[in-house]
Symmetry: D2
Subunit: 404 residues, 4 copies
C-alpha cells in the first residue's frame, strides 16, 4: 500500500535545552478527569456489550460530558456533602439493532449508569455514590449517515471524520516527573500508607533552565484529618516523598510545593469530604484535561480532540492520537540517532483508516546522523503501525494504553 | 517592578518552510462554538450587570457547558426539528451581595437565559429559539475561598489559579486563509447574497510544501435549497468564491473542497433546517473549539484553557491567553528583525496578575539580527503589556478581541 | 345496544340544605393550573397535528407534569425574577409512524415546546417566556401494547384502562359563585380595567347555613402597584366588585375577603412580578387542581383522574368525566322533577368506550316525582350520550367544554 | 377554647345500601404511589434531621413530584431495563439555619437522595437502584414569608394555608376488601411464598347491589416466571388466595379477576423486570394516588390535597386529613348509635391549627338515635382531638398512621 508519508528533519532546540518548560497533570479526581473517565467508561462498556452481544463493535460517540460541582462543608475531623455532584454524559450510540427483521433494544441506560458508577467506585474511596452524586446521560441514537459509514464487517473501518492525531517521544524529564508524581500520589500503595490523600491531585511542573519547580495541589480527606497539625504534617510528608521520587527521575534540582493557596490565618486549607473538588463548585468537561501522554504540554504540539468517549474502531480523533504516540515511541526506541520525534496524522473522512491523508514525521537527529540513514526505518515503522491499526482497538479495550 | 521575563532565540524552521501544516477553524454554528459562545455570553452579561449595579466586576466562572444535539429531518425545500437542541451552561457566580447588612439578590436566571438566547438570535437566522432549543443553566454560588481571593477594590486583581497563556505571531498563510474563509462565508454580506449557507461552517487547511488543500464543510439551509441541482450550484459557488478569496491571501496554489462526505447516490448531502449540525446529534462542550487566534493549530503551541466563560478580571486562564496574543502581535509588528515569536505566560495563584511567575518569549530572528539587539525592546513590550493588563478586561467587554 | 345502566333514587339532603359547603377554585395562574394547562396544551397540539398529518388521532398520554417554582423579588413599583420557573410535561406519545414501509418522524419537540409556550403567552401578560421560564418535556414513545389497543380506524375506540368518570348537576350557589368570581377576576375585560390583578387567583367559598364567606387570594403585579396605598385600594375595589357580582348569583349574604395573609406591619403583601406565585417557590403538578366543573368540591363526589393531557379519543379517565358532566347537565336541564343528579361511569379496559361496565345515575327528585316516571327519560339520555360519545373528542379539541 | 364545630344529622342512604360502589387502591409499586412515597420519605427524613440537629421541626413542603417511566424489555425467564425510571421530588425546605450569627448549612442533597433510595430499597426487591433509577430533586429554600409564619417555638403552630381535611368512618366492606387485598398481595409473608408477584398491584372494587367484582392488576417478575404455564398458574393462585381472603372480610359473593388486559394470543401479559410498570412508560405524580384511607373513593367525599411530602407540623393539608380520619374513627368506634360519620375540617391561614375555621360533623344515626343524644359526645371527641393535634405529628413521624 502506498501511504502518504512525509518525513522531515527538525532543526530546533531539543526540549531539554530550552530555557522554559511548563507541564501539567490533572489527576484522577480532577473534575475534568472525572468527565473524561465517565465518557470513556461508557464507551468501553458499550464496546464490550456490542462485541459480546452482536460480535461486532457498533457506532457510538459519547465524548461530551459535564460534571457540575456540588456543595460541601469539610472541616477538620468531619464534613458533609450538602448538594451532590452531577455528572452527565452526552453523545449518541446505536440503541437498537435490527436483526432478521426483529428489533433488539440495547439497555443503554443500565450500561451507561453502571459504567459511570463503576468508574467512580474504582477511583474514589470516600465518594458515596448513593448520596454524593447524581449520574445522568443524554445519549441519542446516532446520525443515520454516520451509521451507514460505520460498517464493521469490512476489512478496514472507514474514518468517521477529517481529524488529526498528534504525539511525540520521548517525554522530557519535567514531563516524566509531573506524570509520575501524580501516579505515585494516587497509587493504591501510597493510599494505604497515607489514606488522607484525596484523589483530586493536580501537578504543575515548571522547568526554568536547570531547575524544576513542582507544584502539587492535593486535597486532604477531612474525616481523616483531625486538625491543622495533622494537615501540616501530611503536607510535609507529601513534599518529602515527592522530593525522594524526583531524585529517581531527574538529576536536576527539584523544589516541591504543596497547596500553595493555603492560608492558615484565614482558615483556608485544601480539605474535601470526598477527595474531589467537584464536591464544592468545581466543574468539568470531557476533553479538557490531559492529552494522550497523560499531560498538558503547551510547549509541545497537541491535539484538541478528546480521546475519551469516542468509539475505538472508526473515530480517528481517538485512534490517530494513540497511533501517533505508538509510532513516536517505536521510532524513538528502535531507531538509533533519533533523539526526538513528532508525529502528525491526518485522516480522510470516508476512507479506510489505514490510509491517512498524511502521516508526517519530524525527527531531531543526533549530531552525525543523516535523515537519509533513518528515513527507511522510519517509513517502515509508520507503515507497520498503520497495517496493524486495528490493534489500537484492542489496546484500548484491554487497558493497555493511557488515554488521558 | 521586576518581572520574571525570559527571552530566548528560537532555532527552528520557520512555520512556512515546514513540509506540513494543519489548521482548523470551527465556525460560528459548530456545536463546540455554540458551547463557547453560550458560556462567554453569560460571562459578559454577568460582568455588565455587576459593573452597572455594584460598580465592580464580581467573581464568576461559567467556563463549562454542554450542547446536546437534537433530532431533525431536513429535506430539499423543507424540514423540521423533531427534538430540540439542549444547551446547559455550568459554573458558579456571585448570586447575592450583602451591602450594608441587606442581601441583594442578583437575577442570575434572567441574565443567563437572556444572554444565551441573545447570542443565539444574533448568530443564527433559522434557529427558532422557542421551538428548536431548550436553554438551561447549572450555576452555583462561588466557593467562598475563591470569593475571598477575589477582591476587586484592590489596585491589581490576584490570580485565581496557577495557569498559563500561550500564543504567537504572525499567523501563517494557511492559518490566515483558514480563518478568513470561515469569516467570509459567515459574513452578513455574503449571507445576504447566499442565504442558503448555514452557520455551522468548518474549515480545515492542509499545507503540503507549497500547496494548500482547503476543505470546507458547509451545511445548506434545507428550506432554501429546493433540489439537488440547487445544492450543487451553491457548492460550486462557494468553492469559486473561496478560491477567489484565497488569491488575495496567499500566492500558493489552493485547492478548495466542499462537503466531501456528500454521496448523492446514497442520498447523503449536508442539509440542515437551522444552520447547525447540533440540530441532529452533534454535541458540543465549552473549551473544545478554537484557541485564542480563532484556530486549532496542532503545529503551534496551544493552551488547553477555555477562554469562554471565565471572568475577565482575575481568571488568568482567560487573561493570560489574550495578553500572550497581544504581546506576540506587538513584538512582531513593532520590532524589526523578529520573524516569528512565541509567548508563554505562567501565573502564580494568589499573586497580582501583573506579576507572572514567568513570562517567556521565544523569537525567530531574521538572518543577521542578534538577540541582544532586540532583547531590550522585547522586554519593554512585555513590561508595558503587563502594566496595562487591566486593559484586557475592557477589550473583552467591548468585543475588541477575538476569543475563540 | 344493551348498556349496563343503573338508576337510583337518592335519599339525601339537597346540597343547598346542608349546613356546610366548601368549594375551591384554583385560578388560571395557579401552579397546579399551569401544570394542567401545560399538559392539556400538549395533548391538544398533538391531537391537531396527528389529525392534520395522518387523518387520525394517535395515542398519547401526557397527563403528568411538574411546575417548579422560581425565585423572584417583587417590590412596590418594580421587581425581578431571579430564578426561572421550570415546567416539565411528561408522558408518552406516538413519535413516529410507519406508513408504506417508510418511517415518518413526528416533531414532538417543536409541538410540545410550542404548545406550552403558546399556553403561557395566552394566559399571562407579565410572564416573559424567554427569561422567566424554562420549558422542558420527558415524553417517551408509547408502550407497544397500548398502541395495539389503540386502533383508531375502528368504529368505536377501545377503553385504554379501567377507570371512572364522576360528575353531577346542577352547581350549587356557592359553587357558581366561587367559579364565576375567578372567571370574572381573570376576564380580559376586567384585566383591561384593573391590569394590576395577577392571574394566580384562588377562590375559596364557604357556606355556613345561609351565609357565604368568599376568600380570594389575588396577587398584584408589582410593576403596576407603586405603593401600599395603591395596593390597598385595588384590594378594596376587588372586594367591592366581587360583592356586586355575588348579588347576581345568589341571594344569600356574602362576605368577601381578600389576601387574608397580608400583614402590612411585617411587610407581607401578595405582590408578584409575573402574576403567578410559581415565580417564587410555589410548585405544581398536573391533576392536582380543579375537577371537571372547574372546582374542587369535597362535599361532592369527585374523580381523582387528571383530565388534562390525556388523549381525547380512548382515555376514559378524560372522556368519562366529561361525559358524566354532560349527562348530568342534560338530565337536570331536560327532565322535570330531577333536582340533583349524580353520575358515575366505569369503563372496561379493552372494550368499546360506548359500552361502560356500569353507568350509574343517582337522582334527587322533587317531592311528588316518582323514580319510575323519570327512569325512562334518564335511560334515554344516558344511551343517547354514549351513542354520541365521539362528540366528546370534538368538544375537547374545539374548546367547547371546561376541563379544569 | 370555643371552636367552630357544627354537627348535623345526615339523611342519606347508608353506603352499603346504595346500588353501586366503586373503590380503587393503587398499590405500593404504582407510579403515583412511588411519587407519594418519594415525597413523603423526604419529608420524614428532613423532619428527623431538623429535630435531631436543631431540636425543632423546620419548614418544608416537598409535596410535588414526578416519576417518569423508563423503557424495559421483560420476557419469560428474563428481561432488562433499557432506560431508567426518573424520579424528581420538588418543593422547598429550610436549607440553612442561622444560629448565633453563624450559618449552618443542611445537607439537603444527601438527605433527599438517601431518603428516596431508602424508600425504594425497602419497597422493591428487584429494582436495582444503581442501574434502573435516576433520582433527582428540585428543592428551593422556602419563601421567607412562610418561614416567618412558621415559628416552631410557639405553643401551637399556625396554619400555613387555607385548606381542608376530609374523612369518614367506617370503611365499607368493598373498601376494606379492596385495601386488604393489596396489603395482602404485597405483604412480606406472601412475597416469600410467591416471589413472582411484583409490587405494582392495583385493585379495583366494584359493588353492584349485593355482588362484588374485584379486579386486580398484578405484574409478574419476568425473571421468576419461566413461561406462560407458570404465568397462568400464578395468576390462578392469586385469584384463589384473594377469594379466600374475601370470605374473611365480607359475606357478599366476590368475583376475582386478574390481569384482564392479558391477551395470550397477541403476546400481551403483565410482566415486569422490576415489579413496577414505571419501568416501561408509566408515569406518576405526587398526590394523584390514594387518599387518607389508602383508597380512592369517588362515592365518598375526598380531599384533593396530597398528604405526602407536606411538613407534619403546620401544613393543614396533611394534618387536617389525618385528624379528620382520627375523629371519624373515634366517633364511630366510641359513640353508640352512629353508623356512618363524615368529617370536614377547614383551616384559617395564620391561625393556630387547633382553631379551625370550621369543623363539620355529619352523622348517620341508627334508627332511634337522636342527634341531641350524641351531639355532646361528638363535640367532646372533636375538641379532644384538636387539643391533642400535636400528636398527629408524632403519629406521622413514627409511622402510626396510613397516609396514602
Amino acid at each position: 500500500m502506498n501511504r502518504s508519508i512525509t518525513i522531515e528533519k527538525l532543526d530546533q532546540m531539543p526540549i531539554e535545552n530550552r530555557q522554559i518548560e511548563i507541564v501539567e497533570r490533572k489527576g484522577r479526581g480532577h473534575p475534568d478527569y472525572i468527565a473524561d473517565g465517565a465518557s470513556e467508561s461508557v464507551s468501553k462498556a458499550l464496546s464490550t456489550y456490542y462485541l459480546k452481544t452482536f460480535g461486532t463493535l457498533l457506532h457510538h460517540n459519547v465524548d461530551k460530558g459535564l460534571v457540575v460541582g456540588g456543595k460541601s462543608r469539610p472541616f477538620f475531623g468531619g464534613g458533609e456533602v450538602n448538594e451532590p455532584i452531577q455528572i452527565i454524559v452526552a453523545g449518541r450510540a446505536v440503541t437498537q439493532v435490527v436483526k432478521k427483521g426483529r428489533i433488539i433494544p440495547i439497555p443503554i441506560g443500565s450500561i451507561t449508569l453502571g459504567a459511570i458508577k463503576k468508574f467512580l467506585r474504582e477511583n474514589f474511596r470516600y465518594l458515596n455514590i448513593d448520596l454524593h452524586v447524581i449520574v445522568n446521560y443524554m445519549i441519542k441514537p446516532g446520525s443515520l449517515d454516520l451509521v451507514k459509514t460505520f460498517d464493521t464487517n469490512q476489512k478496514m473501518p472507514l474514518a468517521n471524520d477529517t481529524s488529526f492525531g498528534v504525539s511525540y517521544a520521548p517525554l522530557s524529564q519535567t514531563e516524566k516527573l509531573t506524570l509520575e508524581t501524580e501516579l505515585y500520589l494516587n497509587s493504591s500503595l501510597l493510599k494505604k500508607k497515607m489514606p488522607e490523600l484525596g484523589e483530586d491531585i493536580k501537578v504543575m511542573g515548571l522547568r526554568k533552565n536547570a531547575h524544576i519547580d513542582l507544584t502539587i495541589a492535593v486535597p486532604l480527606i477531612s474525616n481523616l484529618t483531625p486538625d491543622l497539625d495533622n494537615y501540616i504534617s501530611v503536607k510535609e510528608e507529601v513534599k518529602n516523598r515527592v522530593a525522594d521520587l524526583a531524585t529517581k527521575i531527574t538529576k536536576l534540582p527539584v523544589d516541591v510545593h504543596a497547596n500553595t493557596a493555603d492560608n492558615y490565618d484565614n482558615g483556608i486549607f485544601y480539605l474535601t469530604v470526598t477527595g474531589t473538588s467537584a464536591e464544592h463548585g468545581d466543574d468539568g468537561n470531557t476533553g479538557r484535561g490531559n492529552r494522550i501522554h497523560g499531560l498538558i504540554t503547551p510547549c509541545r504540539p497537541m491535539s484538541l480532540e478528546a480521546t475519551a468517549g469516542k468509539n475505538p474502531v472508526s473515530h480517528v480523533g481517538k485512534i490517530y492520537n494513540i497511533l501517533a504516540k505508538t509510532i513516536a515511541n517505536k521510532i524513538y526506541n528502535k531507531i538509533d540517532g533519533v533523539t526526538e520525534v513528532y508525529i502528525k496524522l491526518l485522516s480522510q473522512i470516508g476512507k479506510p483508516i489505514d490510509q491517512p491523508m498524511i502521516a508526517n514525521v519530524e525527527a531531531l537527529l543526533e549530531k552525525g546522523t543523516k535523515l537519509n540513514t533513518v528515513k527507511g526505518d522510519i517509513k517502515c515503522v509508520v507503515n507497520e503501525s498503520f497495517t496493524n491499526i486495528k490493534q489500537v482497538t484492542n489496546d484500548i479495550l484491554e487497558d493497555r494504553t493511557l488515554l488521558f
